[in-house]
């Protein structure tokens, strides 16, 4: 948790354009928790997210960190096996019936993986499952990713409160 927060903070420093609000973990976290409780009241269950790691070994740590962060904020989190293929992610997501897949970007392959993932989801009747991508993605790819079905890009894999709010926006937009 602390590590994730720390990373959020350092990221803010390096990207001043994003630093709109001051980072106040306890209060803002409470707001997120309340939003999630409201989600539960409306949907009958917690938001469920699959954290899929399609990349290499160094992703392991990042995957665990993200999974812990989501669970701490009140998500039910499924964690994929290492090096999950898009087909495997689609199968796991539909079988576990998650609301959203968060997959960690793989250098230079993210566009192609997104296409494959969207296709696989369609094949498994999982078009209703949202896709978000975490990790460093060049700005020039954003448009292509949105067009391919990505609902949200979690920059640098770090998640902060503002992004959590946007993620919940995505989930509530049915």
């Amino acid at each position: 948790m602390k590590k994730v927060q720390k990373r959020c903070e350092t990221e803010r420093q390096s990207k001043p354009s994003q630093a709109s609000a001051k980072f106040q973990p306890s209060r803002t976290m409470m707001l997120i928790n309340r939003r999630i409780e409201e989600f539960v009241e409306r949907n009958g269950r917690r938001p469920r997210i699959l954290v899929s790691s399609m990349g290499k070994k160094h992703h392991d740590q990042e995957t665990k960190l993200l999974a812990t962060f989501f669970a701490e904020t009140g998500f039910d989190v499924d964690v994929s096996p290492m090096h999950q293929a898009p087909q495997g992610a689609a199968r796991m997501a539909t079988e576990n019936d998650v609301h959203v897949i968060c997959f960690l970007s793989v250098m230079n392959r993210h566009k192609e993986l997104v296409y494959e993932l969207a296709e696989s989801l369609k094949a498994e009747d999982g078009e209703d499952i949202r896709l978000v991508i975490g990790g460093s993605v060049p700005q020039s790819d954003y448009d292509a990713l949105y067009r391919a079905g990505i609902a949200l890009i979690l920059e640098s894999g770090a998640v902060d409160i503002e992004l959590m709010n946007r993620l919940l926006d995505v989930l509530e937009k049915k």
Binding site: N33, A71, G74, D76, V77, D78, G88, E95
Partner: protein, 325 residues
């Protein structure tokens, strides 16, 4: 609405993976409208269930449950079985969230076309797991799965709940993990139809064999629950696959024996009774919290107990009285 229910029923019976998954979501939902639908679906599917081999698998964290299920499940799938794995993962009591990493170690089984793995958060509601897992089991059986494994974390109440809904209860243990028998509660040992000493490979093999003898001795001291089945102790390795098939043979042997003696039918009736009681208890709890008088008085009474102004016994008495009126 009725059409809707039929859609789920047909989908499950047609073995549609996505609709089966969606039906389980309905069962797990806390919304009354979803629960009503789920109840109708389960009722309609009940006649199509009951043929599967129901296995409960437990063991302390780190004993290798997921890896064991991966190997065991793959072996069964290769033999032509349709395998469903239901895993219950603990939810955090603080954030309410959960991490379900069972499939992280079931890499091959989770991709197998004859397998279906569904991890579920234990959720906030006590006792809820019992109803949800039972009903999910019915759905999976109606969807054609003939082996159902229910995996639990080996701590506390969940074993007893799971043992009451399966035909065969397997306890996984480790050799040389310290205080041998002291480590497990006698209560869990009593529930086991078989004990398997996992990770019996390489340097650990000898230790596992020694542990096997220890447990055999311990089990011989307990009065078996069944007249025809004496709980057995195995060694196995999810890594080398040694012993995995022996355990399956024992499960089938157990089933044959209990079928012939009529104990299986008896067990199933007992399972139904347990199911009924679980529903009654859940319903009572639900009614209590939904009672208008109770929910009105609850915050005040909770505060009074917290401040020490009211004794716990008096408060409980008062709340139950409100519920009765």
């Amino acid at each position: 609405m009725t059409m809707d229910i039929q859609f789920y029923i047909d989908g499950v019976l047609a073995k549609n993976r996505r609709i089966t998954a969606k039906t389980i979501t309905l069962i797990e939902s806390s919304l009354p409208a979803h629960q009503q639908k789920a109840k109708a679906i389960v009722d309609a599917l009940l006649p199509f269930a009951g043929e599967a081999v129901r296995i409960g698998i437990t063991g302390v964290p780190g004993v290798g449950k997921s890896t064991y299920i991966e190997s065991f499940g793959m072996e069964l799938a290769e033999q032509g079985h349709q395998v469903a794995v239901l895993a219950v993962d603990p939810s955090s009591s603080k954030s309410g969230g959960s991490i379900m990493g069972d499939k992280t170690r079931m890499e091959k089984l989770s991709l197998h076309p004859q397998a279906f793995i569904r991890p579920s958060p234990s959720g906030g509601t006590l006792g809820g797991v019992a109803r949800k897992t039972r009903e999910t089991m019915i759905i999976c059986e109606a969807a054609g799965f003939d082996v159902i494994m229910v995996e639990t974390v080996g701590v506390g109440q969940s074993e007893i709940t799971v043992a009451s809904m399966v035909d065969f209860f397997l306890l996984l243990m480790l050799a040389g993990a310290g205080d041998e028998l002291q480590g497990i509660k006698r209560g869990v040992l009593e529930l086991a139809d078989a004990i398997a000493i996992n990770k019996a490979d390489g340097d650990n093999l000898e230790k596992a064999k020694a542990a096997q003898k220890e447990y055999e001795k311990a089990l011989s001291l307990l009065t078996p629950e069944s007249l025809t089945w004496q709980p057995q102790v195995f060694t196995c390795s999810a890594l080398t696959m040694d012993g995995i098939n022996e355990i399956w043979k024992a499960i089938l042997n157990h089933r044959r024996k209990l079928e012939t003696s009529g104990e299986l039918a008896q067990r199933r009736r007992k399972q139904d009774l347990d199911w009924m009681w679980a529903l009654v208890e859940e319903g009572l709890r639900d009614r209590f919290y939904k009672n208008v008088d109770v929910s009105k008085a609850l915050p005040e009474i909770v505060k009074a107990v917290e401040n020490g102004r009211t004794s716990p016994t008096a408060a409980a008495h008062c709340l139950l009285g409100l519920n009765d009126n």
